[in-house]
């Protein structure tokens, strides 16, 4: 099941390069969008652009063999602003999505949420933090936690 989910997210985003722990830099948080000017006619006529692009990053595949971490890195890369927000609140659907991607079971979800909220400042030490750095920090935190370390074992 876990494999399916990780596969799905990779399938959906297969055209994107993405960040890896220790490999790619990843999207910088609050980088914002560029080049997505609203297309008045596109909106009027319910057309859309097939080739929408989202927060792009650098990075190479294959640095982590752990598919969960890969898919978390992938998700963080395009949703870092919202993940950071949910993390600071200790709740929210983007945080739950991270838990799903990491395969964190129901019983450990509270620990997962609490650990990330309490360590927000070390996961995002500055406003220049990239998603790659945040993923590294999350993995490191989980490794040190008795309940969570099993989810990041290589």
């Amino acid at each position: 099941m876990k494999k399916l989910i990780a596969g799905a997210i990779l399938l959906g985003a297969s055209s994107m390069a993405f960040a890896q722990p220790g490999c790619g830099v990843g999207a910088m948080i609050w980088k914002g969008q560029s080049g997505i000017a609203p297309h008045v006619l596109a909106a009027t006529t319910n057309g859309t652009f097939g080739n929408q692009t989202f927060g792009m990053t650098t990075g190479t595949l294959g640095c982590s063999t752990n598919e969960s971490i890969q898919s978390m890195a992938m998700y963080m890369d395009s949703n870092i602003d919202k993940v950071a927000r949910d993390m600071s609140r200790g709740s929210g659907e983007n945080l739950d999505t991270l838990a799903v991607l990491m395969g964190v079971e129901e019983a450990d979800r509270d620990t997962f949420r609490k650990t990330l909220q309490d360590n927000f400042a070390s996961i995002f030490p500055s406003s220049e933090t990239t998603s790659g750095e945040a993923v590294d920090a999350i993995v490191a935190l989980m490794e040190q936690n008795d309940a969570l370390s099993k989810y990041v074992a290589a």
Binding site: M1, K2, L4, I5, G7, A8, I9, L11, G12, A13, I29, W30, K31, G32, Q33, I36, P38, H39, V40, L41, A42, A43, T44, T45, N46, G47, T48, F49, G50, N51, Q52, F54, Y75, N79, D81, A84, R85, M87, S88, R89, G90, S91, G92, E93, N94, D96, T97, V100, L101, G103, E105, E106, K114, Q117, D118, F120, A121, F124, S126, S127
Partner: protein, 621 residues
Amino acid sequence: MGNLLRLGPALFTLALTLSAQAETRTDDEAIYQDPAWLLLGHYQPDTWSDGYTSQADDPNFFLSEHGKHSPQAEFEATLEAMRQPGGGDQHARCRFPARTAWLEERIGLSLPEIECPAYDTWVDTLNTETVTLVFAASYLNSPSSMFGHTFLRLDPPSDDQETNLLLASTISYAADAAAHDSELLFAYKGIFGGYPGITTVQPYYEKIRLYSDIEHRDLWEYTLNLTQDEVDVLLAHAWEIQDHNFDYYFFDENCAYRLLALIDVARPGTNLLGEVSTHAIPSDTVRWVVDKGLVSKVFYRPSAATSVTYSLSTLPDEQQTLSAAIANGYVDVDSEEVSALAPAERARVLDATYDYVRYQSEAEAWPREFAAPLSHDLLRARSTIDDAPSPEQPPEPPIRDDQGHDTFRFSLGAGQLDHREFTQITLRPAYHDVLDPPAGYRSGAQLQFLRMDARYYTDNDELQMEKLVGVEIRSLSPRNQFFSPLSWQVGFGGRRTDTGSERVFAPYLEGGAGGSWKLATGTQAFAIATADLEIDDDLRRGYDAAPGADLGLLFQSDQLSLMAGAKTKAWIVSSQHRQDQAYARANWHLGREFSLFAEFTREDHYDRYQSTWQAGLHAYF
């Protein structure tokens, strides 16, 4: 003028032609004329002959070289290809799993088992139990988004703790426009064809990012009651069309149209395509899906803009001021004013302020040097507050977009223009004006297409085109301490204009920009600077232009909508006269099917006063 009059009935017929094309024939029982087969091949009966043409514009979608125009040739070629020995991803049975399944059932075709690795992996990965139709609603200050957009979400089984809808895949059909094409080229190719339409599969979180975060559009999720078998057929057919080109046309063969075809294939006999006439407005297609009883439940997902507006509005006044001060950098996140608040209140202020800063960064392009450090401070401060309740979600609007009034309006009225009596008929194929019943529409937003007003003057038995609107867009969005949107309007068409001696029909172009302020719930005051241009050889110099102003009040409610104000225009090229108007218009809504309307205008132009009044009935269908 005569041409314009003839256009009226033509438009009317155009807008009312329902389903004539989509009906299937029953005079021949041949299998290749089975509606299900025609659907699978996207065949439509030709208008001028008794043949068929497929909407697919890709030779690879057909197994016969005559497939585009011959359901029979395609049927025979398909049957032949299915029976070929071998297997693998390139086998016809793997390329066309929905056709295969249909043939097996319809004619009892029995085929040996084969492996389709690519298709099987695709289906396993999508892991779909139910299908949800997602409708991206319009955004307040963007009436051009009023038509909405639709796509399908493939939901995994819901009894699984790893179920997560943000990760669910979506299927959408979109014009693959080249990013460097200009708006004009975009419009031209969109209407007359030229863009390939492609089916794409994307995770839902990317759709949310686009519609909810960037375009500020609320999402309505309509879970369909398709059975597992029907879902499987839908996926199989999506696989058949996903890499093939169907030329994209904005008005009919658009995003919504192709999804209707998928649902029709999944549940034969549904015939949603039969509802399509000249255009398939996504919000209308949602109505059809609801009317055909395909929906099991509806979920509302407010956009980032809706959420932030709501959470700011639920803060007490002094906290709103504090939030605005933090967002603008006047008050520090670590200041005493903030830390003095009780933890739960502090959490609410920080949450709302963060969402607001993010919104402004996306919508108003606040510079990153300012917004990013502030965002970081806000989240860091927030992360130290444990167990605060998560922010309250905006309530679901009581009336959904698909439950608002129907978009075609027919009006019959009678009135007087300077003591001459007339009867007026108005046809408006789409979409909404600010005095129509507001439920299900954004307040202050107006979008009208191809509206035609024709008058019959009883004193001299004269039939006159009074006004023909090409497009008219108006957006009145109130400003407050957090948001300062521009209210604006633009329109073109033809209308009667007074030359001093007669009323001539002249093409016009008008526009305006200004502000609007909320006075009370449902009431706003607006001030707009306007510009008008009229062209006609009866005008002294062939054209005339007028800067002007429009000041007024707008009240909208489910029972009554009212607009009153004063307009002034200074015609500066030909007539060099001022035109001043006081106007009042009211619509009394009888449910969402009918409105009684009355309007009165008093005008001072060419140094004489003139009154126009009219009253009548609007019907929406």
